[in-house]
C-alpha cells in the first residue's frame, strides 16, 4: 500500500522494561475510516501513542511521505493530525472556550462546523470543562480536532467509551461527518459503530498485527471476528446502541 | 586467561579482606603523599579516615530512602543531628554516663523519625521532599536560635563527661574503630533489609508505587519502615560523629548537610551496594583536601579567575555534582559497567 496516508511498519514500544508492542504494521487509507481493533490489552492505545511519539518507540512511522521517527510529538501533530485520546485529554480547569482555543492551529478555525455539530459547546463556552458530563467532554475533544481544517488525519481512541447511547449517536454522526472531509484512524470496541463507519480495519493481538483488510469482510465472518476480537455472540448480536444514521454518507460499501 | 580464575575467590572474599585491612590500618606507618598528610596511623590521618567512613555509612543509610525506596528526603540531617544533639545534651545537662546518653540519644532519633515520617509520608514525590525539608529546617532553626540556652546556638556544644578512652589525640584509633564498626553495622543492616521481603516491596515502590497498591499492599507502612530505619542509622551516625568531633555543631542540622549526603549518594551511585559508601568517602576526602588546598600557597599564586572559584570547595563540589549528573548517571559505582559496555560496543 504505497498510497497510504499513514504507514506503520514494525512498531515496537517498551514501557518500564516490558514489551507492549512487538511489531505493529498498520496502513491508514487517504480516505474514509480505518478501524484499529483488538481485545483489551492488545496494544491499540499504545500503537496510537507510539504513532504520535508520546511513548518512546522504534520502527517506522511514515506519515504523508515523511518518516516521523525521531520527531517530537508537537512536530508530528503540526503536520496535520487531530487526536482524541482515550481519556479525552480535556483540561478540567480550563473553560470549554479555552480548551478549544488551545487547539487552534489554523488562522481561520472552523468554529461554525464545531458549533453546528455540537451546539451545546457554544452555550457552555464559559463553563469549566471539568464540570461537563462525559459526553460533553467528548464533544470538546472531537471539536478540537475538527477546528483545524488543515488536519489531514484524525486519530480517535475509543471516542464512544463509557458514553450514554444517545451521546454515542451524536458522536457517531460527528465522526461520520468528519470522515467526509478527513481520513480517520478509529480505535473502537463498539462493533456496530465500526460496521457503520469503517472501510478498512486492522486487528491487533498481543502487540502484533493479526489481521488487516476490509472491515465489512471481517465483520461478516463470525468465526474470524470471534477469534480475533474475542467477541462472542452476545456482544455481536446485542442491539446496537447506534441509532439509524441520518441521511448522510454513502454507506460502507 | 588464568588471572580471572585466580581472581574469582577474591571477588567473593574481598569485602572481608578489605575489612581486615581497614581494622589493621591504625598500625600502619605507610605514607600516601598527596592522599593523606601524614602516615596512615597518625592521628590526623586516622581522624580523616574515620570521617570518611562515617559519611560513607551515612550516605549508605540515606540511599535506603533515595536509591532503594525511591523517596527523595531533604531532611535526613535532622535525624543525624537528633542523635548528636540529644546525646550531647544528655551528657552536658543530666550527667548521665556516655552509654545511657547514647542509647537515649539514639532513641530520640528513632522517635523523631517515626513521628515526622508518619506525617511527611502523607505526601508523595516532591511534596514529600519539601515537607521533610521544612521539618529539618525547623530543627535547624531550633538549634541555632537556642531557646533556653542549651544548644549553644551558632557556637555548637562541646561534649563533656566522655569516657577517657574516647577522648584525646592519643585515642584516635579507638574512634576510628568505632567509626568502622558503625560502617559495618550500617552496611549489614541495609543489606539485610534490602534482601528481606520488605526490601522487595521497597523495590516495587521505587519502580512503580501504583503496582504495589494494585497487589493489595499499602505502600505507606513500608515506606515508614524505610524512613525509620534510615533515621535510626542516621541518629547512630550522629552519636559516632559526636565522639569523633568532640561536640555538636549547628552545621550538621542544615539542609546543606542533607544535600551533601545527596551529592555523595549520586556521586557514588544510587541504589548500588557499595556506591553510596564510595561516594561518601570520596566526597569527604575531597572536601578536606580541597579545603586545605584552598588555604595553601599553591592556590594563592594563581590568577584570580582560577583562584577565586578554587578557594571554595563547595563551588567545586557543586560543579562536579552537576557534571556527574550529566556524564555519569550511575555514579562511580556504575563506571565499570559503563566501561565494559563501551568496550563491548567497540
Amino acid at each position: 500500500m504505497t498510497s497510504s496516508l499513514l504507514s506503520v511498519r514494525g512498531l515496537k514500544v517498551v514501557v518500564g522494561g516490558r514489551h507492549i508492542l512487538h511489531g505493529v504494521d498498520l496502513d491508514v487509507a487517504p480516505v474514509g475510516v480505518t478501524a484499529l481493533l483488538g481485545r483489551n490489552g492488545a496494544g491499540k492505545t499504545t500503537t496510537v501513542r507510539g504513532i504520535l511519539g508520546l511513548v518512546p518507540r522504534t520502527g517506522s512511522v511514515i506519515y504523508d511521505g515523511l518518516e516521523t521517527n525521531g520527531l517530537t510529538t508537537h512536530r508530528i501533530v503540526q503536520r496535520g493530525i487531530g487526536y482524541v485520546p482515550e481519556d479525552r485529554g480535556i483540561f478540567a480547569s480550563l473553560t470549554v472556550a479555552e480548551n478549544l482555543r488551545l487547539a487552534e492551529r489554523d488562522p481561520d478555525p472552523a468554529y461554525d462546523l464545531v458549533h453546528e455539530l455540537f451546539p451545546e459547546l457554544r452555550q457552555r463556552a464559559r463553563q469549566a470543562a471539568g464540570t461537563l458530563s462525559g459526553g460533553q467532554q467528548q464533544m470538546v475533544a472531537i471539536g478540537r480536532t475538527l477546528l483545524n481544517r488543515s488536519n489531514r488525519l484524525v486519530i480517535a481512541d475509543e471516542p464512544t467509551k463509557g458514553l450514554a447511547p444517545r451521546v454515542v449517536t451524536e458522536v457517531a454522526v460527528a465522526l461520520e461527518r468528519a470522515a467526509q472531509a478527513v481520513p480517520i484512524l478509529l480505535v473502537e470496541q463498539n462493533l456496530a459503530l465500526v460496521r457503520r463507519l469503517a472501510d478498512h480495519c486492522a486487528v491487533l493481538a498481543d502487540g502484533r498485527t493479526a489481521h488487516a483488510g476490509p472491515a465489512a469482510e471481517l465483520l461478516a465472518d463470525a468465526d474470524k471476528s470471534r477469534t480475533l476480537l474475542g467477541v462472542g455472540r452476545r456482544a455481536d448480536t446485542a442491539p446496537a446502541p447506534v441509532a439509524p444514521a441520518a441521511p448522510a454518507t454513502g454507506g460502507d460499501h | 586467561m588464568n588471572v580471572p580464575a585466580l581472581l574469582r575467590p577474591l571477588r567473593r572474599w574481598w569485602p572481608a579482606l578489605a575489612l581486615v585491612v581497614l581494622v589493621l590500618l591504625p598500625y600502619s606507618a605507610l605514607s600516601l603523599p598527596g592522599l593523606l598528610d601524614g602516615p596512615i596511623g597518625s592521628p590526623g590521618s586516622l581522624q580523616l579516615l574515620a570521617l570518611c567512613l562515617v559519611f560513607g555509612a551515612l550516605a549508605t543509610g540515606y540511599d535506603l530512602l533515595l536509591g532503594r525506596t525511591g523517596l527523595l528526603s531533604f531532611g535526613h540531617a535532622l535525624y543525624f543531628a537528633a542523635g548528636t544533639y540529644a546525646t550531647d545534651l544528655l551528657l552536658t545537662q543530666t550527667g548521665l554516663g556516655f552509654w545511657p546518653s547514647a542509647a537515649l540519644g539514639l532513641l530520640a532519633g528513632v522517635v523523631l523519625a517515626a513521628l515526622l515520617g508518619s506525617v511527611s509520608l502523607r505526601m508523595t514525590g516532591i511534596g514529600f521532599a519539601m515537607v521533610t525539608l521544612a521539618f529539618a529546617q525547623a530543627g535547624s532553626i531550633l538549634v541555632e536560635r537556642d531557646p533556653g540556652g542549651v544548644t549553644g546556638g551558632e557556637e555548637g556544644l562541646a561534649a563533656t563527661g566522655l569516657p577517657g578512652w574516647l577522648v584525646g589525640i592519643q585515642h584516635t584509633a579507638n574512634l576510628y574503630w568505632i567509626a568502622l564498626a558503625y560502617l559495618v553495622v550500617t552496611l549489614a543492616a541495609v543489606q539485610w533489609a534490602v534482601r528481606s521481603p520488605i526490601g522487595r516491596v521497597w523495590e516495587g515502590i521505587r519502580e512503580n508505587e501504583r503496582r504495589v497498591e494494585v497487589l493489595g499492599l499499602r505502600p505507606y507502612g513500608f515506606k515508614l519502615v524505610a524512613f525509620v530505619l534510615a533515621g535510626t542509622l542516621a541518629a547512630l551516625g550522629g552519636v559516632v560523629y559526636l565522639l569523633l568531633t568532640g561536640g555538636a555543631t549547628p552545621q550538621a542540622t542544615t539542609s546543606d548537610f542533607t544535600l551533601s549526603l545527596l551529592v555523595m549518594v549520586v556521586l557514588g551511585g544510587s541504589g548500588s551496594r557499595w556506591g553510596p559508601l564510595v561516594g561518601g568517602v570520596l566526597y569527604t576526602w575531597a572536601q578536606h583536601r580541597l579545603a586545605s588546598l584552598a588555604g595553601s600557597g599553591t592556590i594563592a599564586g594563581l590568577p584570580s579567575v582560577l583562584r577565586v572559584p578554587l578557594s571554595q570547595p563547595l563551588f567545586l563540589l557543586g560543579v562536579l555534582f552537576v557534571v556527574i549528573v550529566y556524564a555519569l548517571p550511575g555514579g562511580v559505582a556504575g563506571l565499570p559497567a559503563r566501561l565494559r559496555g563501551r568496550g563491548a560496543q567497540a
Partner: protein
C-alpha cells in the same frame, strides 16, 4: 494596637518576599515537575546584582531593574543549558538544580566574601510613616506593592494570553498539550524566565528589607518559599498568594509574642497540621 499594625505590615512584607519566591517555584514545579533548588541561587544573583548596581550609583529603581534582568537571564540560561538536556528525567533535573544551588552561593562568597555586605538603602525608602498610630518603615510597603503588582501581572498573563493558557494547560497535562501540536518546551523556558525574574526581584527587595546582602540569604528564603508552595498547593499561584500571607503573619506574630525563632518553628508546625488535615494543600490540588 500600634504593635499589631507594625507586626501585620512587617508580616505582610515578609509574606510578599515569600510570594515572589514561591510563585515562580510553584509554576515551575506545576508545569515541569522540577523542584528548583537553584531558585535561592537566582534570588542571590538578583540580590548581588542589585547591590552591585546600587553601589555603583545606579539609583535604586534602576539597580532593581538591572538585578531583575540579570536574574532572569541566569534563570533562562539555567533552563536552556542544564534543565532542557535532561528533559524526561525529572529526578536528574532536580539534582542538577541542587548542584547549582550549592555552587552559586559558594561562588558569590568566593568573589564578595562570606560576610554580609551593607545594602545602600536610598533615603526615600529608608524612612518611616505613621499608620493607625504605628511607625512603619516605608520599605515594607515597597515589598507589598511589588508582590501585588507581580500577582496581578501573573494573573493577567495566565488568564489572558495564549502563552498563559499553554502554561495553565501544561500544569494539568503536559503530554496532551504537545499532542495538540504545541511546543511545550517554550513554555518551560518562559516559566523559568518568569520565576527567575520574580526571584531576582525578591533578592533586590530583600537587600532593601534586611539592609544587607549575603550568600546564604537565598537558601533561607527558599525554604519558606517551599513551605508556601506546599501550603498553597503545588502549581497554584493563587494558593501561594494566600499561603504567603498566612506564613508571613504567623511568623511575625509568633516571633514577637514568644521567643525569637519560635515563629519560624510555628510555620512548620502549621504546615504539618495542614498536611494532616488536607494532604493536598489549601487549594486542594494534589501533588
Amino acid at each position: 494596637m500600634s504593635t499589631v499594625v507594625l507586626l501585620s505590615v512587617t508580616g505582610l512584607g515578609l509574606g510578599a518576599l515569600y510570594f515572589l519566591v514561591a510563585s515562580g517555584l510553584s509554576l515551575i514545579f506545576g508545569l515541569m515537575d522540577v523542584l528548583n533548588f537553584a531558585h535561592g541561587a537566582l534570588l542571590s544573583i538578583g540580590a548581588y546584582a542589585t547591590w552591585w548596581a546600587a553601589s555603583h550609583s545606579f539609583g535604586y529603581p534602576l539597580a532593581l531593574l538591572f538585578g531583575t534582568a540579570v536574574g532572569t537571564l541566569a534563570s533562562v540560561a539555567l533552563e536552556l543549558g542544564l534543565i532542557r538536556p535532561l528533559y524526561r528525567r525529572p529526578r536528574e533535573q532536580v539534582l542538577a538544580t541542587v548542584g547549582v544551588g550549592l555552587a552559586v552561593p559558594a561562588l558569590l562568597s568566593a568573589i564578595w566574601g562570606a560576610d554580609a555586605r551593607t545594602f545602600p538603602v536610598p533615603a526615600s525608602l529608608g524612612g518611616t510613616f505613621t499608620l493607625l498610630g504605628a511607625t512603619v518603615p516605608v520599605d515594607r510597603l515597597v515589598l507589598i506593592g511589588a508582590a501585588l503588582v507581580v500577582l496581578l501581572a501573573l494573573k493577567a498573563f495566565l488568564g489572558r494570553t495564549r502563552h498563559g493558557l499553554v502554561v495553565r494547560a501544561g500544569v494539568e497535562d503536559r503530554a496532551m498539550v504537545t499532542a495538540l501540536g504545541i511546543d511545550v518546551r517554550r513554555a518551560f523556558t518562559l516559566v523559568f524566565a518568569i520565576g527567575g525574574a520574580a526571584a531576582a526581584l525578591a533578592g533586590g527587595l530583600a537587600g532593601l528589607y534586611f539592609g544587607s546582602v549575603d550568600p546564604t540569604q537565598g537558601s533561607s528564603l527558599l525554604i519558606f518559599g517551599f513551605v508556601v508552595v506546599v501550603m498553597g498547593g503545588l502549581g497554584s499561584v493563587s494558593g501561594a498568594a494566600v499561603a504567603c500571607v498566612v506564613v508571613g503573619l504567623v511568623q511575625q506574630f509568633a516571633n514577637y509574642y514568644s521567643t525569637a525563632g519560635l515563629g519560624d518553628l510555628s510555620v512548620v508546625v502549621l504546615l504539618a497540621a495542614l498536611l494532616l488535615v488536607r494532604p493536598s494543600g489549601l487549594t486542594g490540588r494534589l501533588a
